[in-house]
Amino acid sequence: MRKFLLSVFVISVFGIYALFAKSGNPSTVVFNTQTNSNTNNQLNNNDSNTLPITTPPSTAPTVTEAPVVKKVKKTTCSWKYYGGDDEENSRYVCTTTLVDTTPTSSKTTTTTPKPTSTPTTPKTVAVATPPPVVKPKSTSGWNDGTFTGNSIDAYYGYVQVSATISGGRLTNINFLDYPQDRSTSLMKSQMAMTILKSEAINAQSSNVDYVSGATYTSDAFNQSLSSALSKARV
């Protein structure tokens, strides 16, 4: 009986969905569609990994064709979003402008720094979205630089992070190692469209006997990160 009622429910929800879809208002029914944006995300993260905070990247081509006169080199960097849904359309762009004394001849070179990812840093976390803040001296108690944390056993594998401090702020965390025993390929074609109930999660009373949750990895993460940060302390 329960299964019959469920089927009736599923069929009628599908019907309602079809109707809504026809009337051009499909957003009232949420399907859990698969959006695998890992690759894009990673590309993007890699960009953030190479954030040049105050100086132009060393890969920036030097402009040689500029005319003779006195010139001033100006570099500005910012996140540029070229529209569309694709994150790949976002780039951290540095523009180098050579301004010389005669206002007519100025030359502009635009460079996008290439991600300098190494095979040992497969995942990157941008902790904050750092606007290029220029701080001459660290007053925060943190030394600028990248600090590698300890490698911590998380049972399913080791977790090791490095923390990057720029301008006295934690701007980036790299995962040098993380548990990878799980397969990452996907089995999309096997999955039929069943509608499952969704809800926003909501804090409950903590009056329970035991708690189920995957915490071991986060503990390892915290340990590795705090050991990295302790090395960054002034």
Partner: protein, 248 residues
């Protein structure tokens, strides 16, 4: 009687509420987990699994426990359309995705065989209960909020003493923010809690289904005798059709 130890890189809690429990009983459960760790840990050079990976042991000479794990891993591999695989790309074996739930199950069976009926075993958030808690009521199990680990966001009334396992990683939960737009959180699964006939079943399917990403909850939904609760990075949970029967 209740105690917690750090074994296999995670806290393991044993609580037995039956009367006349000797301290020794808890000790024997912890000893069992230590024994399992020494046999199956891929981080201990002296473990049997590492000897196998170095080609030092013939298949015929595997211990009974090892043979059983290899059989169960093969079975799970088939049942999950190759999603579960203890063989790594480099050809070595890492059975950690199945050993934990299996070990909890064995420890639970052992306690029952020795006449204990009211207890709870918790190894790193994977839980098997039996009987009633110290108040004589059904054991209650909270699901941890992966976005705020101090918070519980669901309470399972485990009156039928099912096995409850959660797969998830903090890491998955943190590289998903779009660095260009803090508000743009990409869809990813943070955690998947599975209720199964026992902890061995719950754990192996939680591991496999978690690896399926957003499809994992649909996989669990199709399994008879299993329910699941999946939480994504937006704080939205998706549940299988029978899940709510366990929260009443």
């Amino acid at each position: 009687m209740k105690d917690t130890r750090l074994i296999m890189g995670m806290p393991i809690t044993v609580e037995i509420v039956d009367l006349h429990v000797e301290n020794q009983v808890l000790e024997s459960v912890f000893n069992y987990f230590t024994y399992i760790d020494e046999k199956f840990s891929t981080y201990k050079e002296t473990s049997e699994i590492m000897k196998i990976n170095r080609g030092e042991i013939n298949e015929n000479d595997y211990s009974e426990d090892m043979k059983e794990i290899f059989q169960l891993a093969e079975k799970t591999k088939i049942e999950t359309n190759n999603f579960f695989n203890i063989k790594k790309p480099d050809g070595s074996y890492d059975p950690s995705g199945i050993v934990k739930g299996w070990a909890i199950q064995k420890a639970s069976d052992n306690l029952k065989n020795n006449g204990y009926n009211n207890f709870c075993l918790d190894a790193g958030g994977d839980i098997q209960t039996s009987g009633k808690n110290s108040k004589g009521e059904p054991w209650t199990i909270g699901i941890r909020n992966p976005l705020n680990t101090n918070e519980i966001i669901k309470i399972i009334n485990n009156k039928n003493n099912k096995g409850i396992a959660t797969s998830g990683t903090y890491i998955r939960g943190n590289h998903i923010y779009n660095p260009n737009n803090k508000d743009d959180i990409l869809s990813e699964v943070l955690s998947l809690t599975v209720i199964g006939p026992n902890i061995y079943e719950a754990d192996r399917f939680a591991t496999a289904a978690f690896a399926m990403g957003k499809d994992g909850i649909y996989f669990i939904d199709k399994l008879v005798g299993f329910e699941g609760y999946m939480i994504d990075t937006k704080g939205i949970a998706t549940m299988t059709r029978g899940f709510e029967e366990y929260t009443q």
